[in-house]
């Protein structure tokens, strides 16, 4: 059905768009916040994609089996931490190549998650349902004009994600742990000579990254998409790595970057529903990926890259 451009610019469309923008930004934000910590400590984890998938699966299965989405969330976080533990062990203790390790985590995540899902629910085509997170209206605030519908009628995980931003900022810039993480990501040898345990800081950060990636996966399977399929992450894990870079390795920057990418994702989704001038759906679907490429090429964040990122570090020379 053809719609007119006027309807496109109507208030209701824009409100819906912005509300979706916040929603679609959440997986990127959650995964991006954790990955910010990991990369700040010097470890690149491109295995977030597979980790998110594992989190999505574990969250869904956990919620279905216990009937409680919160327990599902815990399962998802646990799954994320376990995947991250593998990556951390390979990159920090074995000092293997970080890119290869991340790739293998992705592959394992894809295989394990789909295998486990089929093991629990069989190969049948029927759709499996699990209790998820419904939008939670904040009393009072959700009635506000404009920002009410956009910010305060979201699911719980959105509120958690938004709250994590100032928390992450505080931890990173105002605590000893955060300063140590930054030091380790710049020069682990110098940091260790000052008494910082670089390996422990890195493990902590990578595991935090896994936990939030797991949360991001749960957001997809129990919040946004309500289900599980091996295609559901659709590259968001890799876009999250771009979010970290575009956000200059800063939690607030990650929020802004996630909102930008979320906006593009929301835009293509809503425009598809409109079928304006028969833009082929593939073009719209490709927008987020194209914007990611532009973001990476733009060079934003290049001056802020942690100096020791992706550089193998072995203690004691």
């Amino acid at each position: 059905m053809e719609q007119s451009w006027q309807q496109l610019l109507s208030a209701s469309f824009l409100l819906a768009l912005l509300s979706s923008c916040v929603r679609m930004a959440m997986p990127l934000l959650l995964a991006g916040l954790g990955e910010t910590f990991a990369e700040r400590s010097g470890i690149l984890n491109i295995g977030i994609e597979g980790t998110m998938l594992m989190g999505a699966m574990a969250g869904f299965v956990g919620s279905r089996l216990t009937g409680n989405p919160w327990l599902g969330l815990c399962c998802g976080i646990l799954a994320g931490v376990l995947m991250a533990l593998l990556h951390a062990f390979l990159t920090i203790t074995v000092v293997a190549d970080q890119v290869v390790s991340g790739l293998s985590v992705n592959i394992l995540g894809l295989g394990l998650s789909t295998l486990a899902f089929r093991a629990f629910f069989g190969l049948s085509g029927q759709t499996v349902k699990a209790p998820g997170f419904d939008p939670l209206l904040i009393p009072g605030l959700s009635q506000l004009p404009v920002i009410g519908p956009i910010l305060f009628r979201q699911q719980v995980l959105v509120y958690i994600g938004l709250l994590l931003v100032p928390i992450a900022y505080f931890v990173l810039f105002r605590t000893t742990f955060g300063q140590q993480v930054t030091a380790v990501g710049e020069d682990p040898r110098a940091a260790e000579s000052m008494g910082v345990d670089a390996l422990r800081s890195r493990y902590a950060c990578v595991l935090v990254g896994g936990a939030t990636a797991g949360m991001a996966g749960v957001f997809l399977s129990l919040g946004e998409l309500r289900g599980f399929s091996e295609l559901m992450v659709a590259g968001r894990g890799f876009i999250a790595v771009a979010v970290v870079m575009f956000g200059r390795w800063n939690p607030v920057g990650a929020l802004l970057a996630a909102l930008l990418f979320g906006f593009v994702d929301a835009l293509q989704l809503h425009l598809q529903a409109f079928s304006i001038t028969s833009i082929p759906p593939q073009v719209l679907q490709g927008l987020p990926y194209l914007v990611t490429i532009l973001a990476v090429v733009s060079g934003v964040g290049r001056g802020f890259i942690p100096s020791a990122l992706c550089v193998p570090y072995r203690r004691g020379q």
Binding site: T176, A183, E186, A190, S193, M194, G195
Partner: protein
Amino acid sequence: MADAELVMLKMEGICKRFPGVVANNGVNLDVRAGEVHALLGENGAGKTTLMSVLCGLYHPDAGSIIWKGHPVRFASPRQAAALGIGMVHQDFKLIQRMTVAENMMLGRQTRGPYFDLREAARMVERVSADFGLPIDPRTPVRQLSAGMQQRVAILKVLAGSPDLVIFDEPTSVLTPQEAESLFKMMRSLVASGKSICFITHKLEEVMSIATRVTVLRDGRVIDTLETRQTNPRELARLMVGREVLFTIQKTPCAPGEAALGVQHLTTAGAPGQVALRDLSLEVRQGEILGIAGISGNGQNELAEAIAGLRPVLSGSIKIGGFDTTHWRAEKITDLGVAYIPDKVRQNAVFLDLDLTHNTIAKSHRGAPLAPHGIFRMRVIDGHVRRLLTQYRVRAPSPRTLAKQLSGGNLQRLVLARESSRAPQLIIAANPTAGLDVGATEYVRTQLLEERDRGRAVLLISADLDELLALSDRIAVLCSGRIVGMVAAADADLEEIGLMMGGARAAEQPCA
């Protein structure tokens, strides 16, 4: 002065092994209260390893440390610092991107998890006032000169109120004047009751500042002497194990035509900055022109511009009569220019590839090794073996990976591949950095031989003694300009030091 006979530290039978090398082999050392104890030895003798064991960075495989009368075992540098031992490393080990205050606070025991920047700044101001070493706590470390960064490293150690301060090669990045102020500070530290242990390979420093000196060679202690009872020649003999020639016999310089002419050269450095400004110099055939200066004043940019690796903004470069200002690096190499860059392991060799690959570098295009872009394996193999033998590179086979070679052998390999192309101009940047005495002598002899063959040599070095010994003329580089040019025979060390530090040019100070 405190009781000069009181022994603060005793290290007994320290052994430390790394894969393939025994760095410390049963080392004994004692340091008394209020003394300056020098640890002398050539590169690779084990001095830094020993001190790293002492300050808690390494665990010894055997042996014991007795500190203030009690046996101790340090699990980490933090523990050693808590007990009163602090180390100022050769590379300072500071986080470049963070401020002075943040660096000072890192690793210190804080009351809670909260990181208070104002408290950190106050602490910096307190400590710097206590020791008379002013510094601004809010400056990012990477904006500081080498001398100032060293000051931060020293303050960081002093803030822990240590009883023993270890310095590792502290003068390697300082001008002669800055080194003198450092020694003055050391003397005042000692006067206030601290002990100092300092690692060096420079004999004059030992004689001028140390009370006693322990000489290490090949991981063992050769002897411990009072400095007033010895002399540089004896120390050198102990350090190297044989008589060392102090002056290299140099034939008088008989320079020919200009092989290299640089006129009003201006190039960029880091983005947005100019590295070389209006720089002019000339190197003639059969002479060695030394470039003195604190590192970071344009040395790398100068070498790269001449070699064609850095674009020129204005000015000209002429090599062998050709205007090579905007030539590509490959063309300049083919013209006969050899470039041995600074930091060989990083910039000149491929550690993960084999010796064959490394040796044919720069000769890998065209005849005779690769006509039409396809390698002739038999020819290459013969060429490589011949070179490795001729230049005595010690390695099992050409298939050995470069990373398994020692620093000296790697430098031989680089010299082999550069010299064998019969260049008319050789640019060498810090060619003996980190090498032991034998390898250093070899490299210097090679450079002199090239000069005697009528080639032009541009020698860039942070080691003034090396420049004085090898060069025919010395130019001083400061802030991207040549601020002075002297004949080596007439060179005055102090004058050069002042030029390096920028005192002789109406310019911003260097580094």
